[in-house]
């Protein structure tokens, strides 16, 4: 979100105007989230429980992890439409590796090694597929939209081939722990999501690599003429996105205790929505992962609130869609005001 961009890049006092509209534009998603939480808490006391909070977070954690990777991609003015299908493919690959883990658990072997291999298979495959797509985009200069649209279809097909059309179900408790377990009272996927957000935040805000990403997204030619290896950078962000998709695939398979062919369908659009609601510009160079976190939470709370209020689930996509458009509108409105000065 815009307010996060400010936080990231302007720790000192800023002088470029600070009107009410400006402020509203920067904190709009956070403000909207807080208002929504307040209203829901008032209408339904059950909403404000710790249990429900973690429930909401667990629901958004998979899309949230995809959105963290998507933030890197969109910051470079790219797009990754393949993450939902990639999630399914990686989830299926991980299930294939983990399939035998039940017998190991029942025997004397703790089965932990097998789970580790399964997780690495999902994440490694995601990384590789992402790097492959990134190479087509960065090196062969095929538009990201086209490459990842191809991926959207291809990886879904690969999932079907790999599984021969059948879901793979029932894993060991060790395996299921990653999707269903808790550390204290916090669900494991929520912890993974928060760790991803934290790492991405540190990279984008403090590292050299993060600075390169913003420079590349802000002006690719200037970045190249400043000596940056822009091709490698482009490839890398799709690698990151693929890695996140692989991780999400592992967690979702674990959480559902089943690798499904239809897993993650439509998640690409929801994760893009989270990034955009969070104020990262689709033109690149502006935004950050804290905004994405808020965007993902906003989607989760909206969906949860609609369920709590007994609104038909058919309304959910309509509401989320409207919020995407509204948040971009507010952001752009504020920026226009800011730049006119």
């Amino acid at each position: 979100m815009a307010s996060e961009a400010t936080a990231v890049r302007g720790s000192q006092a800023r002088n470029d105007g600070f009107s009410a509209v400006d402020l509203l534009g920067r904190v709009a998603p956070l403000l909207f989230l807080l208002i929504l939480v307040a209203i829901l808490s008032y209408l339904e006391p059950g909403f404000r429980t710790e249990r429900n909070l973690f429930n909401v977070m667990r629901q958004v954690s998979i899309i949230g992890i995809l959105a963290v990777g998507m933030t890197f991609v969109i910051l470079t003015a790219g797009i990754d439409l393949s993450v939902g299908s990639m999630l399914a493919f990686c989830g299926m690959a991980c299930a294939v590796v983990a399939r035998g883990s039940r017998s190991l658990l029942e025997g004397s072997d703790p089965g932990g090694i097998r789970v580790l291999w399964a997780a690495l298979a999902a994440m490694g495959l995601g990384l590789l597929l992402g790097l492959f797509q990134g190479t087509l985009i960065g090196y062969l200069k095929i538009p990201a939209f086209v490459v990842t649209l191809g991926g959207l279809g291809a990886w879904r097909g690969a999932t079907l081939l790999l599984s021969e059309g059948q879901p793979i179900s029932s894993f060991s408790d060790d395996f299921k722990w990653w999707g269903q377990g808790f550390v204290g009272r916090v669900p494991v996927p929520v912890i993974v999501f928060l760790v991803f957000v934290l790492i991405a935040f540190i990279i984008l805000r403090y590292s050299q690599y993060g600075r390169w990403i913003y420079a590349l997204g802000g002006n690719q030619e200037a970045a190249r003429l400043s000596g940056l290896n822009t091709t490698a950078l482009v490839i890398s962000v799709y690698g990151i996105s693929g890695f996140c998709a692989g991780t999400a695939g592992f967690l979702l398979t674990s959480r559902l205790n089943s690798a499904e062919q239809v897993a993650g369908q439509g998640y690409e659009l929801q994760s893009i929505a989270a990034v955009v609601i969070g104020g990262t510009s689709l033109f690149g160079g502006e935004g950050g992962v804290l905004g994405t976190f808020i965007g993902a939470m906003l989607i989760g709370v909206l969906n949860n609130g609609l369920v709590i209020l007994n609104v038909s689930p058919y309304w959910q996509p309509i509401v989320v869609g409207s919020v995407v458009v509204l948040s971009v509108f507010i952001d752009q409105f504020a920026k226009r005001r800011r730049r006119r000065v």
Partner: protein, 512 residues
């Protein structure tokens, strides 16, 4: 067209842009059946004047008359209905459509929305015949040569019943035979009673096709002559004859050292497929430590292309580049930077700055390697480095976290310079270093470049402003059509000599 008023008159046209007085009281006229040459240096106001004529901008004051009747073109379409057609260097054609579709685009003969293809064909053939052009109306424009595409543009202008055709450097991409073909068409247009305004940098063409010459200089009329009374020398003198240039004192030279950059026979073709069309042809020169080497020439003569090749931004096909006497391999900007080369590009907003980022982030961008430990930027060191250069270059800003977007042109240019000076380059290439910045900032940039040369940096300075070139350079290379047309030492250099070399009319010193 037999009465006493010219086809077109522009009287006292004045135009101001923020910070620039582009045109001051400019007047010109064109008679029916006449070809008028409009000449002047880059930035003299030719393009602005033609944009006013074709309705792109309104004039601030002044009158436009066609057949003695005052008109005010509101937009390009309106100008077309007034009979004014302009043919730009970059054609406005649809590459995937055929010749006939392009000629009649938006005005296709039709019956309730369906194109009458036969009428379209007949009309197109009639037009092309009128022009005397052999061209299949069904050809797809993408597959045509530049010259043929130009014919399509001219046919389109005729189909719009143009009475005045403006051609902006129509010959710059044509071969000699194509130029002759174009001239035949222009003569045909004149015979049909059309007026033509012909903008060119190639002065010799004026003598073969034009009847009269209007010269612009610094946005003002500098002279109006009949071709019969003109000579190339006279035209060049009118183009550059600035009295103000005397006000600039030449900068003191530094002591020169060994060559820091040597270029040997560098050439580059326009595209890999088309080796015949060269962008750079056999370029060789030395740049010594402490020297400011001016690179003059017209826009499009290959100056910027040379700078980009030397910095690794574009590839080159043959020749070699030596840094401090050693042959180096420069295939991307990062390798050039490693060899101590820096480039301040032509367009700071598009090529040099990330406008959304702060001054700090822009200046430190090429230095992040040195400013980082284990991949993380050492913020304190970064701030110190940036503060040093903001101070040294007197960048006017309240904070180094100010977004570059919010700075003035002069301050933005200082940020670009700071970004590269912070790397202590041995070779600094600057492309139009003072374009679009105010006089004060310009003087500061000039001082800075001189001071750098005194510290032993070799500076290669590209500029279209002749007074700037003359004032700053220790030696001047003049480029024309991708090769070095000549070299002038400091005592010999005058605006006239540079223009002679740049336009190819030099009676002497044309050895390359």
């Amino acid at each position: 067209m037999t009465d006493a008023s010219p086809l077109l008159q522009m009287n006292g046209v004045d135009k101001q842009f923020p910070g620039v007085h582009a045109l001051r009281e400019v007047s010109l006229h064109v008679w029916a059946g006449e070809c008028l040459a409009l000449v002047g240096e880059n930035g003299a106001g030719k393009s602005t004047l033609m944009k006013i004529l074709s309705g792109v901008y309104p004039a601030d004051s002044g009158r436009l008359l066609i057949d003695g009747q005052e008109v005010k073109p509101q937009n390009p379409h309106h100008a077309q209905t007034l009979g004014i057609s302009i043919i730009y260097q970059e054609f406005n054609l649809f590459p995937n459509l055929s010749v006939e579709e392009n000629i009649f685009i938006g005005r296709e003969p039709n019956r309730t929305g369906f194109v009458k293809r036969r009428d379209l064909r007949v009309d197109a053939v009639a037009l092309l015949d009128q022009l005397g052009v052999q061209l299949d109306p069904r050809s797809i424009v993408r597959n045509l040569s530049v010259a043929q595409q130009q014919m399509v543009e001219i046919a389109k202008a005729l189909s719009l019943n143009a009475r005045l055709v403006i051609m902006d450097e129509p010959t710059s991409a044509l071969t000699d035979t194509e130029v002759q073909a174009l001239f035949r068409i222009i003569r045909g247009l004149k015979e049909q009673g059309l007026g033509v305004i012909f903008i060119t940098h190639r002065l010799e063409e004026i003598f073969s096709i034009c009847d009269r010459i209007t010269v612009l200089r610094d946005g003002q009329n500098a002279g109006d002559l009949d071709v019969a009374d003109a000579s190339p020398e006279k035209i060049v003198q009118l183009m550059v004859g600035r009295a103000v240039s005397e006000l600039f004192t030449k900068q003191e030279s530094a002591a020169f050292g060994e060559p820091v950059l040597s270029v040997r026979g560098v050439g580059r073709a326009a595209t890999a497929q088309d080796a015949a069309r060269v962008v750079l042809k056999n370029i060789s020169f030395d740049l010594r430590a402490g020297e400011i080497l001016g690179l003059a020439g017209l826009v499009g003569s290959g100056r910027t292309e040379l700078a980009r090749v030397l910095f690794g931004a574009d590839p080159f096909d043959n020749g070699e580049i030596l840094v401090e006497g050693k042959q180096v391999r420069i295939r991307n900007p990062s390798q050039a930077i490693e060899h101590g080369i820096a480039l301040v590009p032509e367009d700071r907003k598009l090529q040099a700055l990330v406008l959304l980022l702060s001054i700090r982030e822009n200046i430190s961008l090429p230095n992040l390697g040195e400013l980082s430990s284990f991949g993380f930027v050492r913020r304190k060191d970064e701030r110190a480095l940036v503060a040093k250069y903001i101070e040294a270059l007197r960048v006017r800003t309240p904070s180094q976290d100010q977004k570059v977007m919010n700075l003035s042109g002069g301050n933005q240019q200082k940020v670009v310079l700071a970004k590269w000076l912070s790397r202590n380059p041995r070779i600094l290439i600057v492309d139009e270093p003072t374009r679009g910045i105010d006089v004060g900032a310009k003087a500061e940039v000039h001082e800075l470049l001189t001071a750098l040369a005194h510290t032993g940096v070799g500076v290669l300075m590209i500029s279209s402003e002749l007074p700037e070139v003359l004032r700053m350079s220790d030696r001047i290379l003049v480029m024309r059509e991708g090769s070095i047309a000549g070299e002038l030492s400091r005592p010999d250099a005058t605006q006239e000599r540079i223009m002679e070399l740049a336009t190819g009319l030099g009676s002497s010193a044309t050895a390359a």
